[in-house]
């Protein structure tokens, strides 16, 4: 009996040690940071001295006027007509008209493949982020294949203007040009829409592309993030 008692008491020691350790761990990990934040916030939260001279009604009126003015200025920054927002991480788009989403869906953007040709030449297939404008609109666009299209196929690069660079019927029924060779266009590989597989252009499903083409005029803004 005495042996059992001794055994129980000895086995309590590591438990107590564990509890002591846990208690200090909790204080150090959770409690001290909370105390730090509370003190920091409290000092910076000293209440302002009550100003008895202020005319609340007049002050509120003045603030409302400023607020109205600023709100209008901020609202004016968002395009009032149609614009397109493209999310390159989720490969989705939202088409806006009069500040309302009129269509949304999947698209495909740059694959982030860095194609290395040699130590001096490489291509980065990335859709640039920022704001672009629709520079032009085309129906039945024809693709003029750039150098990388041959290089990634292991083919010799033909001279500029060579007939082998011209490829019709691969960009869908419509294309919107954004400058620097970037376009919003259709694709033969519709099942890949929603994945980052392009060389930098934005690919869309046929119906979405038609809606975007018909909604966005030349000069419309394309926001890419």
């Amino acid at each position: 009996m005495a042996k059992v008692k001794k055994y129980i008491i000895w086995s309590l020691f590591p438990i107590v040690l564990g509890l002591v350790f846990l208690m200090f761990a909790y204080i150090n990990v959770m409690v001290i940071p909370e105390i730090q934040f509370t003190k920091y916030q409290k000092v910076l939260s000293i209440k302002a001295i009550s100003d008895t001279t202020i005319n609340v009604g007049a002050e509120l009126k003045k603030l409302d006027k400023t607020l109205n003015l600023l709100s209008k200025r901020v609202d004016r920054l968002t395009p009032g007509d149609a614009f397109l927002v493209i999310n390159t991480t989720n490969n989705t788009f939202e088409l806006y008209k009069n500040n309302k989403i009129i269509r949304q869906g999947l698209c495909s953007t740059g694959s982030f493949i860095h194609l290395e040709v040699d130590s001096t030449k490489s291509f980065m297939f990335e859709t640039p982020k920022g704001v672009m404008t629709v520079k032009g609109k085309k129906t039945n666009p024809v693709w003029t294949k750039p150098d990388w299209a041959f290089i990634e196929e292991g083919l010799p690069v033909p001279p500029m203007g060579h007939a082998s660079r011209i490829e019709p019927n691969v960009l869908g029924d419509y294309a919107l040009t954004l400058g620097d060779g970037y376009m919003i266009h259709g694709t033969l590989y519709q099942r890949l829409i929603g994945s980052p597989v392009t060389h930098g252009c934005v690919r869309m499903l046929d119906d979405d592309l038609e809606a975007v083409y018909k909604t966005l005029p030349v000069g419309a803004k394309i926001f890419i993030y």
Binding site: F21, I35, Y40, S71, S111, I113, H114, G130
Partner: protein, 253 residues
């Protein structure tokens, strides 16, 4: 009693020694932590002009609310002059948004924020300073900013490999950044579990962050308040990848 003490002397001495050791570490840590806060407060108060602390009407809730809104709009107008995508964090609306040229491109609702009342009762000067446009000075994340894949160009047609799109999803994002106004932000993406339910483990995440912070900063010299935000993982990843390195951030509360 004396007999028990003698019988279990070794055990009791060990416990007392461990207790005293942990206690002294905790006391030193507490003192260092409080000194760090004090230093941070003094530094902050130096950048806030005295006359800005007591602004007329700031203690009247309706006026304060309007002044905060005006402040937010003024910052938006300033940010709109930049060509870069920037981040807006509105704590009282529980919203994180990416904006460019004044147009909001994505707006994500916070699942949770901690502390729940992060700087929501600052004096006018401190509020003005807190909501100043800040820049990211340091950041780290569990996913790369650009998921670049290097591919060697084939030398001929026989070397061309069929393109295989990487279908393995990225892990949920944890994006931590420090701002030049000495505020740290930790944005955690909350993904879906195997039953398509949001896998939100707030307590586990908090312990993990604080433990990792303790490892690097047991006896802190500096104090930077940290804001923790949980967002839907898809939104969090989009926002992280949209904001450029050294991007601009603005708060509202």
């Amino acid at each position: 009693m004396k007999e028990i003490l003698l019988k279990y002397k070794a055990g009791l001495v060990t416990i007392t020694a461990v207790f005293l050791l942990l206690l002294s570490i905790t006391v030193i840590r507490y003192v260092r932590a409080m000194n760090a806060v004090q230093a941070a407060i003094e530094e902050k108060l130096m950048v806030i002009p005295n006359e800005e602390i007591h602004d007329a009407g700031w203690n009247i809730p309706e006026i304060q609310e309007k002044k905060k809104e005006i402040n937010w709009l003024e910052r938006q107008l300033l940010l709109a002059k930049s060509d870069s995508l920037n981040l807006g964090i509105s704590l009282n609306d529980s919203i994180v948004q990416v904006q460019l040229k004044g147009t909001v491109l994505v707006q994500a609702k916070m699942i949770k924020q901690h502390p729940e009342h992060f700087f929501d009762s600052l004096n006018y000067g401190a509020y003005h300073d807190f909501t100043r446009i800040a820049s990211i000075v340091e950041e780290k994340s569990t996913i790369p900013k650009k998921p670049i894949r290097k591919v060697q160009a084939p030398k001929n047609e026989n070397e061309v490999q069929e393109f295989k799109h990487d279908t393995i999803p990225d892990p949920p994002i944890v994006w931590q950044f420090s701002l030049n106004n000495r505020i740290n932000v930790v944005i955690t993406g909350v993904g879906l579990d195997k039953d398509s339910v949001l896998n939100f483990q707030y307590r586990k995440n908090m312990v993990e962050y604080k433990l990792s912070n303790l490892k690097n900063n047991m006896f802190p010299k500096n104090y930077n308040p940290t804001l923790y935000i949980w967002l839907n993982d898809r939104d969090a990843k989009s926002i992280y990848r949209a904001i450029p390195e050294k991007g601009k951030v603005v708060f509202k509360n």
